[in-house]
């Protein structure tokens, strides 16, 4: 059962500090927004300190929470009444339970490292302070999203991170492509957000409130199957947009136009996981519907395979990682679709470490090669950038699922649950996806770090400064060790999450040790294969790719989904918009508006003429008004 009855804990001095967790980054954002230019380099350190302090506070608060007995691990902090219209009220409530605790630790922990990294990466940028203001605003909004005690606060954070994502993707807006990528991300996610907003309206209609406790606690009893399906699918629409699932995934690869710390923080570690969080948080609604969770499972499965194969043929190092992120998020959706919420959260945490690591490693490579992002121009960087290469290779191994690194456990548990709950097809396709991910990430590593240098930039590449290298090391440790959180499906993390998300589903199937061995083998074989093809020098991989055409070209273009959208959605929409704006609006609506406006201005001119400036005429108007009022009284009595 999900959402077992939790009793809210009483406030203690430590728990009372919860509001500071989102408030600190938001305050730092305000300072940097107004005085960022004057602070110069200090702006970056201020931003890092704010998020770092938020992390320390989160750790304190969460430690306090976990000191309580399992059924009391819930703390709701009511800050003030936010909206009150008749019986409908929305409070500014922060809700700390095991689920939001996990999220805030990831957001602030990974966030701090990325902030520190960005101080080095953004060095010398003319809008340095502005960048950190946005980054802090993003962290604040994300914390609001996961800490919000009702759907409206969640939605505020949801839109906040969307806005920050837009601002940061287009941060170097001088280049048109970047501004377009920002626009694309905003518009695409907007489609999902609109669905989600309609879903919230449905919730208000059915429950009369947006608070999590009454909505989720009574979801099964209140909702008919049809209503539950409607709400769940509308919420899923928002989650699909934000987490870049098929069919709203097209914005994420383009979002790589933003500075690399942004890609790491927003488009890998935190914001895109909001969709997973939403599904897990709203699990009782999804479970009240007979079809919602199977749909989540299918969406995740399709996305996982689609994005994994697309990643195989990318030439831009960041685009490989972008498709990889989409694919990994697909895994999380698959897990949620099988009610394995704890497994989804476990992969979310593990992924945050190794994907942030991979992105920051890629950023370090790009930095060291003065802006070069093409894998074909790299090669042999292991010797010239030892720290970056070593840490990134840890991330590569972790993502591929080499035991005993993070994804080995996380991915393995999802596949094990698939196998043990009677879904052999999901298990087989998931294992195929695991092989694909070992292949694309192995290809990335082989092309970038092994072999020989294939360009002058690669020959001259240099190691990055310590502010960039140190976060890499910290994240590498995390990526290597995160598996310890939950070494078996019913492990420590699952146990902690159980009061919120329910027990881990289990059953019978192929023995767990056999599945694990197979998973480890897939990873090692996949990596070895890519080494043979791309780095050993024994295979001419370009010739191989040429012989496989047109498959690599199709994968490289993301199965032509973008092109299809442009042709079948964007072009007709624009044509329709042109017709409406040029013909219907200009002649019809505007004509009417102009006529009314002309009439109003005409009346205003006449009215102005009465305002002569003479006191006597003013007194006369006054008198007429008074007489009219008295006549009105007389008529009534």
């Amino acid at each position: 059962m999900v959402g077992a009855e939790l009793t809210s804990a009483a406030v203690t001095p430590t728990l009372g500090l919860l509001w500071l967790v989102p408030a600190l980054p938001l305050a730092a954002a305000a300072v940097n927004l107004f005085w960022g230019r004057r602070l110069k380099r200090a702006a970056g350190w201020l931003a890092s300190a704010a998020v770092g302090a938020a992390f320390v506070l989160s750790a304190l608060v969460v430690a306090e929470l976990f000191r309580l007995p399992a059924q009391e691990r819930l703390f709701v902090q009511h800050l003030f009444d936010w909206i009150r219209v008749g019986a409908f009220r929305v409070g500014a409530d922060l809700r700390l339970d095991a689920l939001s605790a996990t999220m805030i630790l990831v957001v602030t922990g990974v966030g701090t490292l990325i902030h520190v990294y960005a101080v080095g990466y953004m060095e010398g940028d003319p809008r340095f302070g502005r960048f950190f203001a946005y980054l802090n605003l993003f962290v604040g909004a994300m914390l609001l999203l996961v800490l919000g005690g009702n759907y409206l606060l969640l939605y505020v954070g949801w839109e906040g991170v969307g806005l920050c994502s837009y601002l940061l993707i287009g941060f170097w807006f001088e280049e048109v492509a970047n501004a377009n990528a920002a626009k694309k991300a905003f518009v695409t996610t907007r489609i999902g957000d609109t669905a989600m907003l309609v879903g919230l309206a449905f919730i208000v209609w059915r429950f009369g409130t947006l608070d999590f406790d009454p909505v989720l606690g009574r979801a099964g009893a209140t909702l008919t199957e049809g209503a539950a399906t409607a709400i769940a699918l509308l919420l899923l629409g928002g989650a699909i947009g934000k987490s870049a699932q098929v069919p709203l995934h097209v914005w994420l690869p383009d979002a790589m136009a933003g500075p690399t710390p942004v890609s790491a923080l927003i488009h890998a570690a935190t914001m895109v996981t909001a969709g997973v969080y939403l599904v897990v948080r709203s699990a009782p609604i999804f479970e009240a519907s007979p079809v919602a969770l199977p749909i989540v499972l299918v969406v995740g499965l399709v996305t996982m395979l689609y994005a994994g194969t697309s990643a195989l043929a990318q030439t831009d190092i960041k685009r490989v990682l972008a498709y990889s992120t989409i694919s990994q998020l697909g895994y999380m959706f698959m897990a949620a679709g099988m009610r394995a919420y704890a497994a989804a959260m476990f992969l979310l945490v593990a992924h945050a470490f190794y994907k942030a690591l991979l992105f920051l490693g890629a950023g370090s490579v790009i930095h060291g090669m003065h802006g070069e992002q093409d894998l074909r121009a790299m090669g042999g960087l292991l010797r010239r950038m030892p720290v970056t290469s070593a840490t990134t290779l840890v991330g590569v191994a972790a993502l591929a699922g080499v035991p005993p690194l993070a994804a080995f456990f996380a991915k393995d548990q999802i596949l094990e649950i698939a196998n043990h709950t009677g879904r052999p097809l999901v298990w087989a396709l998931g294992s195929l996806g695991a092989l694909v991910s070992a292949l694309y990430v192995g290809r990335l590593a082989a092309l970038a770090f092994l072999g020989r240098a294939r360009s002058r930039a690669a020959e001259r590449a240099h190691e990055s400064p310590p502010t960039m290298a140190l976060p890499l090391v910290a994240l590498a440790v995390g990526a290597a060790a995160a598996g310890a959180l939950n070494v078996v499906p019913e492990g420590r993390l699952a146990h902690l999450l159980e009061p919120v998300v329910g027990a881990v589903p289990h059953g019978e199937g192929i023995p767990a040790w056999a599945l694990s061995t197979l998973g480890g083998l897939i990873a090692v074989v996949g990596l070895a294969a890519t080494w043979v093809v791309y780095a050993s020098g024994r295979v001419d991989h370009e010739m191989l790719a040429a012989r496989l055409e047109p498959i690599p070209r199709m994968l490289g273009a993301g199965w032509y989904v973008d092109a299809a959208y442009e042709r079948f959605v964007q072009a007709p929409t624009l044509a329709a918009a042109r017709f409406i704006a040029g013909v219907l609006d200009a002649r019809g609506v505007d004509g009417l508006v102009h006529a009314i406006a002309g009439g109003v201005v005409g009346i205003a001119r006449i009215g102005r003429r009465i305002q002569t400036g003479f006191v006597r005429s003013y007194a006369l108007v006054f008198l007429f008004g008074a007489i009219a009022l008295l006549v009105l009284v007389g008529a009534r009595s």
Binding site: I83, V600, V621, F622, V633, R636
Partner: protein, 481 residues
């Protein structure tokens, strides 16, 4: 009956008068540059009076004190605080105006502003129609002089017009007081209420009184058709004085209107709410439409003030705690936006000389982005767009009117808001999308910017977190008598 001498609810007025007298004596005796001392004395008076007012929030004594002259309810407390806040900002703006233009400076500004404030804080607490009238005259006379204080032709003309028409409206009010006395035999507002409750049959005299009182107070709140003075006076008066009176006078007169009608004439509410609705409709439409034809910012804001008086009256048609609460919220929000926008007008200048035509706002964003952003915020709030206080305020009054059955009035208000949006958006377009034509320099003075920042903060906070004041406004809307 011996009058009880509980002076506590009267302390704010005593403090203000004391500060004003100190200012007057100082003006008469001191030599040399005097404005810092004036400002300090006046600000101290206002801060102490605010503290004394705050202490009254939990006042546990009688509903009225001093022989029924002063009410002690929370309406009086909240309205006083709003007036005092407006006076605080008005002082900052006025001091700056004096520093900038010493030739037109008068030290009397400070005591006069305090006297006007005293009249306003008194009228919101007045529980006797005679006291209401006295307070009305105290605040009016001070405002007439403040309007003409610089001695320039435009200011003197505005002052005289204000005085003549003000006297005219006072006559109506006083006549209304006499009618009330004729109908009920008393001028104490709670006793009027008791006298009218349960009375059946002919209410002609009382209804006539209601209309006359509404005319007198309608003039003060700039409700159409008693608004004709507003554009001329707002334009002619020094901008600092306009800022102060556009906010504080409205709060004071509306609080008095609430007490007179929702306490004293409560029994007749089915008869006077149509009158209020009529005034609201005319004000909303005339104010919104006429604002469109203005080329001067101060006149534009004056017509906007007429329209906003109409919106507040819309809330009062409900004549219950919902409507009063919505109107109080509106008054607080409106005070913040009107003071803020007039403060921006005051610093959008060429060297020392006021520029109030719309052309002065061309490309303001290029010259002074912070100022333009603040002005845009105030205008957006005046237009009633979320997430500003103006939006929440409009939702409140329209909701109250609909709840009371005045759906047509709410509909009219929404339509007028749409028309008026053009007025405000036009200035925003000028500020952000047009290149500056001439090398105008906006005034970098710090004092007005403090007032602007206060206004902007209130507009934003009330817009984003209206829940913060909901409880305060609700408890002030419960009238105790």
């Amino acid at each position: 009956m011996t009058p009880d001498l509980d002076l506590v609810p009267f302390v704010p007025e005593l403090v203000l008068v004391a500060a004003a007298i100190v200012g007057l004596l100082y003006e008469a005796l001191a030599r040399g540059p005097r404005y810092p001392v004036h400002l300090a004395v006046a600000l101290a008076g206002i801060v102490v009076a605010s503290g004394a007012t705050l202490a009254l929030w939990r006042y546990g004594g009688d509903p009225t004190v001093l022989a029924g002259a002063i009410a002690t309810d929370r309406l009086a407390v909240l309205a006083r605080l709003t007036v005092l806040g407006a006076a605080f900002c008005g002082l900052l703006l006025g001091t700056h105006a004096i520093e900038r233009d010493p030739a037109a400076a008068r030290g009397e500004f400070f005591p006069l502003l305090l006297f006007a404030t005293t009249g306003m804080t008194l009228i919101v607490a007045a529980a006797d129609l005679i006291v209401v009238f006295l307070a009305l005259e105290v605040l009016s006379l001070s405002l007439y002089v403040l309007t003409g204080l610089p001695g320039r032709r435009a200011a003197s003309e505005a002052s005289l017009k204000y005085f003549l028409l003000g006297a005219f409206s006072s006559a109506f009010f006083l006549y209304g007081v006499a009618m009330v006395y004729g109908a009920t035999g008393t001028t104490r507002i709670p006793e009027i209420a008791n006298a009218l409750v349960g009375r059946t049959g002919e209410q002609g005299l009382a209804l006539l009184a209601a209309a006359l009182l509404l005319i007198g107070l309608g003039f003060k709140v700039s409700a159409a058709p008693f608004h004709m003075w507003t554009p001329d006076v707002y334009q002619g008066a020094p901008t600092s004085v306009t800022a102060f009176m556009s906010a504080a006078t409205k709060v004071a007169a509306f609080a008095a209107l609430i007490r007179v009608f929702d306490v004293g004439l409560q029994a007749l509410r089915w008869d006077w709410t149509p009158l209020v609705a009529a005034l609201a409709a005319v004000s909303v439409v005339l104010g919104s439409v006429l604002a469109i034809a203005q080329a001067d910012v101060k006149r534009m804001l004056a017509y906007s003030s007429v329209a906003h008086a109409g919106f507040i009256l819309t809330g009062l048609t409900a004549s219950n705690a919902d409507g009063i609460g919505a109107s109080l919220f509106y008054l607080i929000a409106y005070s913040a936006m009107t003071i803020g926008s007039f403060a921006v007008v005051g610093v959008t200048t060429t060297r020392g000389e006021d520029r109030t035509d719309l052309d002065a706002y061309r490309g303001l964003y290029r010259r002074d982005p912070h100022l333009a952003a603040a002005m845009a915020l105030f205008l957006v709030s005046l237009a009633g767009v979320p997430p500003t206080a103006g939006f929440i305020a409009k939702v409140g009054v329209f909701g109250a009117a609909i709840g009371a059955g005045y759906v047509w009035l709410a509909l009219l208000g929404v339509l007028a808001s749409v028309a008026a949006a053009y007025v405000y958006l036009r200035v925003i377009v000028l500020m952000f999308m047009v290149e500056p034509e001439e090398a105008l320099v906006s005034d970098p003075a710090p004092l007005p910017r403090i007032a602007i920042a206060i206004g902007a903060a209130i507009v934003l906070v009330l817009g984003l977190f209206p829940g913060l004041v909901t409880d305060l406004v609700r408890s002030a809307a419960v009238l105790r008598w």
